[in-house]
């Protein structure tokens, strides 16, 4: 073999390793999906903190390469850097860390001031179980149906946590679907809220919430954790971290820890979670008929969850005295897309009455939705794991 052949042989081998030689149409489709996510985030400002890492992760995960070459670069190749980072998703320890940050960021005052709003957060979880029934009807097994249905909780970390336990093979599609619909909350919810409420109901003015004492704010995460985790111990990783984060925030003596949990730690985990979830959507795993069903079911779940929150308020108003009636526009906030859905309630309220600020009232069911979806995830895990 002369030197020319030697060079040609090596160049041919190198070509076989490149993305161009290994590209399949699926990779190209997924690359376009990743670019679309990045465009949505940057140009349309749809949940950029999530969609930029996920979108770029999709690009990373869909660079074609020769899997039999043993390069140890793919997210599913044991020992690769991406695989190590992906462990936080597959073993389910990123979501509780995100919940720690959510707890440290969230002010539960609106909920403590008006505890009955918690029930709206509970009612909206019907979206999860409604989607569960539809998923079963389509033909998914109960554990897969449970993992898909949690999209209705509108809570990305919870969806990832539960799907990593119940249906790891569907996790990529479930996570992308959950985050996509969370980004589309401003598009999905307002038409439903208009459809299911009368003009008179939209004009209901709620009494301003009372001031909540520091002691109540401290007691809330402790009692909340004890009560919810005694009922659903399987939700402990999420609920425990959520309430722990909130205690750090409210206790007044751990401000450094609360600051780290709500800023640096959350940012780090969000980056890693988004990137690895995106990278896990390799075309071979993602582009399946199941993914289409998952997106359809996720859409159904969001519609059912938002509507059930609104309907529950309407029902609740039948038994409430006139001065304590709740504006059903805050019913949509029972899904835990914090604070997006609360903001939508506020905007819609202002549209019909420029003096009717619903934001603080909507924050109650919104944060109750976070607790509710974590409890629902715990219930599904308890029944199906």
């Amino acid at each position: 073999m002369d030197f020319g052949d030697f060079l040609l042989k090596n160049l041919r081998q190198f070509w076989e390793l490149t993305g161009f030689a290994n590209a399949e149409w699926g990779n190209l489709v997924m690359l376009l999906v990743g670019l679309f996510f990045i465009w949505l985030a940057i140009k349309k400002n749809f949940e950029p903190m999530l969609l930029v890492p996920i979108g770029f992760g999709i690009l990373i995960g869909n660079i074609p390469f020769n899997t039999s070459a043993g390069l140890e670069v793919g997210i599913y190749e044991q020992g690769s850097v991406l695989n190590i980072l992906y462990n936080g998703v597959s073993a389910g320890w990123y979501p509780p860390l995100i919940f720690l940050g959510i707890g440290a960021m969230t002010d539960f005052s609106a909920l403590i001031a008006n505890p009955k709003l918690m029930l709206i957060g509970a009612a909206a979880q019907f979206g999860i179980f409604g989607a569960y029934m539809v998923a079963l009807a389509i033909g998914f097994a109960p554990d897969q149906a449970g993992a898909i249905a949690i999209i209705g909780g509108a809570d990305g970390p919870t969806a990832i946590f539960l799907s990593s336990k119940l249906a790891p093979n569907l996790m990529g599609a479930i996570a992308v679907s959950a985050y996509s619909y969370m980004a589309l909350v401003p598009v999905i919810q307002p038409p439903l809220m208009r459809l299911f409420t009368t003009k008179k109901e939209r004009l209901i003015k709620m009494k301003p919430a009372r001031a909540v004492s520091q002691n109540e704010k401290i007691i809330f995460p402790i009692v909340g954790m004890l009560l919810t985790c005694f009922v659903v111990p399987s939700g402990l990783p999420l609920l425990g971290m959520l309430f722990f984060g909130n205690l750090l925030r409210e206790c007044g003596v751990c401000s450094r820890l609360a600051k780290t949990a709500s800023n640096a730690l959350t940012d780090i985990v969000t980056i890693l979670l988004g990137l690895t979830v995106g990278a896990s959507t390799q075309a071979s795993q993602f582009l399946t008929p199941q993914t289409i069903f998952i997106f359809f079911l996720g859409f159904m779940a969001f519609i059912i969850a938002s509507s059930s929150g609104v309907f529950f308020v309407k029902l609740f108003n039948l038994v409430l005295p006139k001065e304590k009636k709740i504006n059903p526009l805050i019913g949509n906030a029972g899904v835990s897309a914090v604070p997006m859905s609360a903001r939508i309630s506020n905007n819609l309220g202002l549209e019909y009455d420029p003096g009717n600020y619903l934001l603080m009232h909507a924050m109650g069911p919104n944060v109750a939705g976070v607790i509710g979806s974590a409890v629902a995830a715990g219930v599904l895990l308890g029944f199906l794991a």
Partner: protein, 306 residues
């Protein structure tokens, strides 16, 4: 000093709790064969000897080196499981097999004692202290060659005879009950095919959890307002002037800002509310080096010639 002692006490308690959590009490004797046959499992030398299966009933790995396995209750430290073998770390819910061949020099998993067919064989596992009995079993004398004495399920349940038939198979180094489906999911798929059962149960649980939390906070706010009212009444009865909303009603924003700044200046203190007034010194140090005037050069004017 007291604080240090307290911290040490807390650390010691945490360490103790951690050790207890990882204790080896979850090690279980799971299946025993006293008289192996040529059809049975062979050791790494190809010999068919009596065996003892140990199961880790924990959901975390357990290191079993330095525990003792014995068939003589008067000599609890008869066979210490040697240190330094990676295989003595049993993964969660997994098994290891010891060959009771009386030849410990063959390897870690060969005990220094044997089991005797035709008589009751007592087997015990002792913790590293050689005193704490972790688990024990008496294998009945009625066992014949090729039969095993096993728990009905891994790690718990009664012991029963296994003859190696279709129904009572012998399972060295594997689960005593072999499952090919998840029973829970199978049950839901069969009995709750449309999901109504799950929906009703789960929604009841979610509602009850949040309802209890809701009632709890109604109660807490009631108690809180009662305490506030009692404190107020006590203050008034003691003749002190309580600060009421009316007192601060006339304070303007400027007055409040002045009070906050004065507190910051003299006490270096702020309250625990979220809105913290941060006062930073704004430096606008002037230097000719950073002055734009000196950074600009005049555009040279082209001399005009007439």
């Amino acid at each position: 000093m007291k604080k240090r002692l307290f911290l040490m006490l807390v650390a010691a308690t945490a360490a103790f709790a951690s050790v207890c959590a990882q204790s080896r009490s979850a090690i279980r004797l799971n299946e025993v064969m006293v008289e192996n046959t040529p059809e049975g499992i062979a050791d790494e030398y190809g010999a068919h000897r009596a065996w003892i299966e140990i199961f880790n009933a924990n959901f975390a790995p357990i290191e079993i080196s330095s525990i003792y396995i014995t068939n003589d209750s008067t000599r609890p430290t008869l066979y210490p499981v040697p240190l330094g073998d990676v295989h003595t770390r049993i993964p969660k819910r997994q098994h290891v097999l010891f060959f009771a061949d009386g030849e410990p020099n063959k390897g870690t998993f060969h005990t220094s004692f044997t089991l005797t067919p035709g008589q009751d064989n007592w087997i015990g596992i002792y913790d590293a202290d050689g005193r704490t009995l972790i688990d024990e079993v008496v294998v009945p004398a009625s066992l014949t060659a090729g039969q095993s004495w096993a728990r009905q399920a891994d790690g718990y349940g009664d012991w029963a005879l296994r003859t190696g038939g279709e129904e009572d198979y012998i399972t060295p180094s594997s689960a005593n009950v072999i499952r090919d489906t998840n029973e829970k999911i199978q049950d839901f798929a069969e009995r709750d095919a449309n999901g109504w059962g799950m929906t009703v149960m789960a929604m009841c649980i979610v509602f009850s959890a949040l309802l209890v939390l809701c009632l709890c906070f109604y109660a807490i706010s009631k108690i809180g307002s009662l305490i506030t009212r009692a404190n107020k009444a006590r203050t008034q009865s003691s003749g002190e002037h309580a600060v009421t909303a009316r007192d601060v009603e006339h304070d303007t924003g400027e007055e409040i800002a002045a009070i906050v700044m004065a507190l910051h200046e003299h006490l270096d203190a702020h309250d625990r509310e979220n809105t913290i007034l941060t006062i930073n010194k704004v430096k606008r140090a002037y230097s000719p080096w950073s002055s734009k005037i000196y950074g600009l050069r005049e555009i040279p004017a082209r001399p005009t010639h007439h």
